[in-house]
Amino acid sequence: MFYNPTALWMDINSKDDAACQAYGAMASALQDAGRGDEVPNRSVSMYVFKDFVKQEHTAYDDYSDQFAKYNEPFQEMQWEVVADSAKIILGYECLMAKTAYHGREWTAWFAPEIPVQDGPWKFAGLPGLILMAKESQGMHSFTANGIEATEQEIPGMPRDDWYHKEDRKKYLQGKYRHLQDPFADLAGGNLPSNAKIFVNGRETTVGEVRDQFRKELDNGYDFLEIDYHK
């Protein structure tokens, strides 16, 4: 399972009214103390569950008020191991493998010494744990920065009820439109630029968020998967 611990913690707590209230109190206290950026938030809220028996994963993702989930078979990711390439990551000898996946060319490094056919995000299916993956444009990459022993059990999906089944490409198209105009769905899309909002606990304005998103898109930002563009 691939998830962000903060998002998981918040999603679990969302079932508990007392926890919700405590969170609200903490958030406003931090806000007042000028430490709004320390308020925990769901900025990385994607979950990927991998079912190694069915050989498929379920991805859960959301933006704004849209919560979507979809299943995809592992077969969509076809790996080719590149001989003669090795690299040491976290003390493990890793081999290189390549795949073309949903519009991007990925190079991954996996450790055959760790016999788990898993990896970050949707990556799976190599004979060893994937410790690094990079795509060819250099925009996205995953790097393992540590291995820790834990007693913690792998959690289940805390709020399956929020998500509806959706076609992945349709979902990503919507998410991209949201980046282009993050406030299109709010107040009929007519929010003034100087309207104040809080983003991740920091006070800012609608115009500033718009500019920031636009800047990222201008710099060529795109998602992990780019095959949704028509």
């Binding site: 050989q55 760790i114 060893g128 291995i147 820790e148 201008d218």
Partner: protein
């Protein structure tokens, strides 16, 4: 006959195609006979390379197809079981792979944050991953961070540009005196250093006015927040030169709370450590009162070695800085006092080789300087998206007393008292309306008094000179700016007034000197100005054009004729930032500016025992042009930072300084001349992290060429000085037991006059420090410096200095250290240069061997 051959060929191909082998089987748990799902199944060739791979399905089954099984082996591996290797040559398929329980031991690797991370315009350096065992303050660690440069005086640059703010947990407590923080805060208390690129400190201007400067923010660890952190050092020992006891002490207290911040520090030493980096305001605006000292009694110069080798000092510094947040604003008070006593001695021995024996002339200079400095700064600031208010009240009082005794051909004693009193208030208010309109009001008032007393005792005669110099400056301005779709148009208008009076009196003038002995001078002006400004800032491009135009009326109270002048100094800058990695800037400007008004004085002023100056008898303007280009590049994931700069400037000054000798006296005056200068400067810098040994390295180089052409009284002098330098630094921690720092700098320079070149003269400096950590509580540092200075062509002066230090950490709160500096006890820096008929020997003192014991306590 051709047909059967073709058939035969086809048959062979078919056979090869059919020879694919299906390797199938099942993975089961040997103990329970249950199928194992998710086991890694790999077919490897004789060379150990992966031929094919798959994993076992829900029923434990697997299937791979390979061209041939010759010399191949099957490896099956799953967590919790021992790896199984089966040679494929001699087995029957389908296989049953029985897995026996075993442990797969994972090498546990603690989660380490990236050394450098980048998010938007913020670059975050993980302090722990750059700190070495011997580092104490956060300043020691900042020096190792690629992209950040800390100069010897403590000033911080990022990618070749001075930073514009230094924050601690987002608050600007110290202003430009951030040396207190970099020298005082322990790196153990700082989690991360953030560099905010293109930082606009005034929130009202964010998105409207571009900034090419970066700011630094220290993110403290939680243990250092919302509490007082304290640490203190006390050290004592013995020095061989100056002979006697030495001490070195420091007390540092810091509180970083949501509504209140305080840093208070007290430092004192006589071990040669210069405390000025803790008391210098690196953001200080240039004082518009424009006064400068006429009297120049300086201590003898010291050789170009590091301060701690040459500084004979007794220093004391106390500084307290507080910040209170109330409502939406904040109030800050920075108060500090420092005392410095510095002594310096120098001897020069000139030997003339004459027929009737050698003739030797000795000159000794011995001086002491006492300086006290008291400063206070009180700031109220409101920094919001729609409004900005800042009022800064500042006072500085400095007392500087210098006494210098000279023996030799002109034996004398000089004593100068040089106090300085300064008060200023700066008020600035910016209001943003409807997101697009900005209105700014500004008022600056400054007052300064710079009296100077010089007492001279020579040939059993007493000379006494007193100079009184006062100035008041006021500047009121208003500006309006309008922003639409990335274009900002603004107009600033204002008025500046300046009143200054200076009088000097030299009661007795040596007989041989001509000229007036008294000055009573007023240099006043009134300026009205307007600055239209155009700024285009869309996406990756910023273009900014400034067109300041001003009219000034100068009145000099008959010292010289009054003047009316118009000045126009346009400047243009262009920045292009196509992505987060690269940024390039081009700048250009030209303009005319008035001369330094301090040069207006008809009478003679004595600057020291053998030099006097008279002022100009005309009002001059100088003009200049400049163009520059710079770039910066960074690739944070690779830890690579690079920057470069080229600048060319031209200046035209219509006067020059002339020198005349009257007996033993030198008199400087100013005469009409055509003085054209041209300067070219280029520098580059590359920094890189060396992750394999937790280190970093740097390579830098610079080149400069200064050409000046002087045409004065039909005499033409063309002089060119050329210099270049290269340097490098590397540090690392290749294993747990050992870390090192190494630096090398090499520079070369030459002067050419009217086409006649003197020889290139080089200097080279090497510095190496090795730290051994035999036990986590114990560390031992050995360090040394080597200087190689070329005095005359191929005549080098070499000097080596060695130090060592042993530190024992009793526990997290107490640490003991013993250091021995200048082990070889090099006490002097002497050199002799020869010409055909004489020799010149220079003698300077160095700090001798020094033994210091110290204890550090940490709360």
């Amino acid at each position: 006959m051709t047909r059967p051959v073709t058939y035969l060929f086809c048959l062979i191909v078919a056979t090869v195609a059919v020879a694919q082998v299906n390797v199938t089987g099942k993975v089961i748990d040997k103990e329970s006979n249950e199928p194992l799902v998710g086991a890694s199944v790999i077919v490897k060739g004789a060379d150990g390379k992966i031929r094919k791979f798959t994993s076992s399905m829900a029923d434990g089954g697997f299937a791979v197809t390979i061209p041939s099984v010759n010399d191949c082996r099957l490896e099956v591996n799953i967590m919790g079981f021992a790896k199984k290797i089966i040679p494929l040559d001699s087995v029957s398929i389908p296989l049953t792979v029985c897995m026996e329980p075993g442990t797969t031991l994972l090498k546990e690797v603690t989660v380490k944050a990236d050394r450098i991370r980048e998010q938007g315009d913020t670059i975050t350096y993980n302090v722990g991953s750059f700190a070495q065992q011997q580092d104490r303050s956060i300043g020691d660690v900042l020096k190792r961070m690629p992209g950040i440069d800390v100069a010897n005086n403590g000033k911080i640059q990022y990618q070749g540009e001075d930073i514009n703010k230094f924050y601690i947990e987002g608050s600007d407590l110290l202003g430009g005196k951030y040396g207190i923080a970099t020298n005082g805060i322990s790196h153990e208390d700082v989690g991360a250093v953030e560099v905010m690129e293109n930082h606009q400190p005034m929130q009202v201007l964010s998105g409207i006015s571009f900034s090419d400067k970066a700011a630094i923010n220290l993110k403290l660890k939680n243990k250092a927040k919302a509490t007082w952190t304290l640490h203190g050092d006390a050290g004592g020992g013995y020095s061989w030169q100056p002979e006697g006891a030495v001490w070195d002490g420091e007390l540092f207290a810091m509180a970083v709370m949501p509504g209140f911040q305080n840093i208070t520090t007290l430092r004192t030493n006589n071990t040669g450590e210069n405390l000025s980096s803790s008391s210098t305001d690196f953001f200080a605006d240039r004082r518009q009162t424009g006064l400068s000292r006429y009297v120049g009694v300086d201590l003898p110069g010291v050789p170009s070695l590091s301060d701690r080798r040459t500084l004979f000092n007794r220093s004391f510094l106390v500084s307290t800085n507080s910040l209170w947040k109330f409502g939406r604003g904040e109030f800050k008070a920075n108060i500090d006092y420092s005392f410095n006593r510095v002594t310096a001695d120098a001897s020069n021995i000139t030997t003339y080789f004459l027929d009737d024996g050698n003739h030797i002339i000795t000159e000794n200079r011995s001086g002491t300087e006492h300086s006290h400095s008291l400063s206070g700064k009180f700031i109220y600031e409101l920094n919001q998206k729609t409004a900005f208010i800042n009022n800064t009240l500042q006072t500085n009082i400095d007392w500087d007393d210098v006494s210098l005794a000279t023996t030799g051909s002109l034996p004398n004693g000089q004593a100068a008292k040089l106090p300085d009193y300064y008060v200023s208030n700066r008020f600035k208010m910016i209001q943003r309306f409807k997101g697009k309109h900005l209105v700014t009001f500004q008022s600056v008032n400054e007052w300064e008094s710079l009296p100077q007393m010089l007492n001279l005792d020579m040939n059993s005669q007493q000379f006494h000179q007193h100079i009184a110099d006062y100035a008041f400056y006021t500047h009121e301005s208003a500006a309006y700016a309008f922003n639409i779709k990335g274009v900002t148009l603004s107009l600033e208008g204002g008025i500046k007034g300046y009143l200054r009076s200076m009088d000097s009196h030299l009661p007795e003038l040596p007989e041989e000197l001509p000229g007036l002995t008294e000055n009573v001078v007023n240099t006043n002006y009134l300026t009205v100005y307007a600055t239209p400004k155009f700024e285009y800032w869309v996406r990756r491009v910023n273009l900014s054009l400034n067109l300041p135009v001003s009219y000034s009326h100068y009145s000099f109270d008959k010292a010289i004729a009054n003047h009316d002048e118009v000045y126009f100094s346009p400047s243009l800058s262009f920045n292009w930032k196509p992505n987060n990695r690269f940024s390039g800037t081009l700048r250009g400007g030209l303009g005319r500016s008035p001369m330094n008004l301090n040069l207006i004085h008809p009478g003679l002023i004595m600057t020291n025992y053998r030099t006097l100056k008279t002022g100009v008898d005309n009002f001059y303007n100088s003009s200049s042009q400049n163009v520059s280009a710079n770039f910066s590049y960074k690739h944070t994931r690779r830890g690579l930072f690079a920057n470069g700069m080229v600048m060319q400037s031209w200046s035209h000054i219509p006067y020059t300084m002339a020198q005349q000798l009257y007996g033993d006296y030198v008199v400087y005056s100013y005469v009409d001349a055509k003085n054209d200068g041209k300067m070219l400067m280029a520098m580059g810098n590359i920094d890189k992290t060396l992750d394999f040994m937790r280190g970093s390295c740097n390579v830098n180089g610079s080149f400069s060429r200064n050409e000046s052409h002087l045409l004065s009284q039909q005499q033409s002098v063309n002089s060119v000085s050329t210099g270049w330098s290269v340097g490098g630094k590397i540090n690392g921690n290749p294993c747990r037991l050992f870390s090192f720092d190494y630096r090398i700098d090499y520079s070369d320079s030459r002067l050419t006059m009217n086409g006649m070149s003197e020889s290139w003269l080089s200097t080279m400096e090497n510095e190496l420090s090795l730290t051994f950590i035999p036990h986590r509580k114990l560390q031992w540092t050995v360090s040394g410096e080597h200087y190689r200075n070329e005095l005359t062509e191929h005549n080098y002066k070499n000097i080596v200095m060695l130090d060592t230090k042993l530190t024992y950490q009793l526990n997290k709160k107490i640490e003991f250290a013993t250091s021995l500096t200048n082990i070889l006890n090099k006490r002097s820096y002497n050199y002799t240069t020869y010409s055909q008929l004489s020799s010149f020997e220079s003698q300077r003192q160095l700090r001798g061997r020094q033994l210091l014991f110290s204890i550090t306590l940490i709360k």
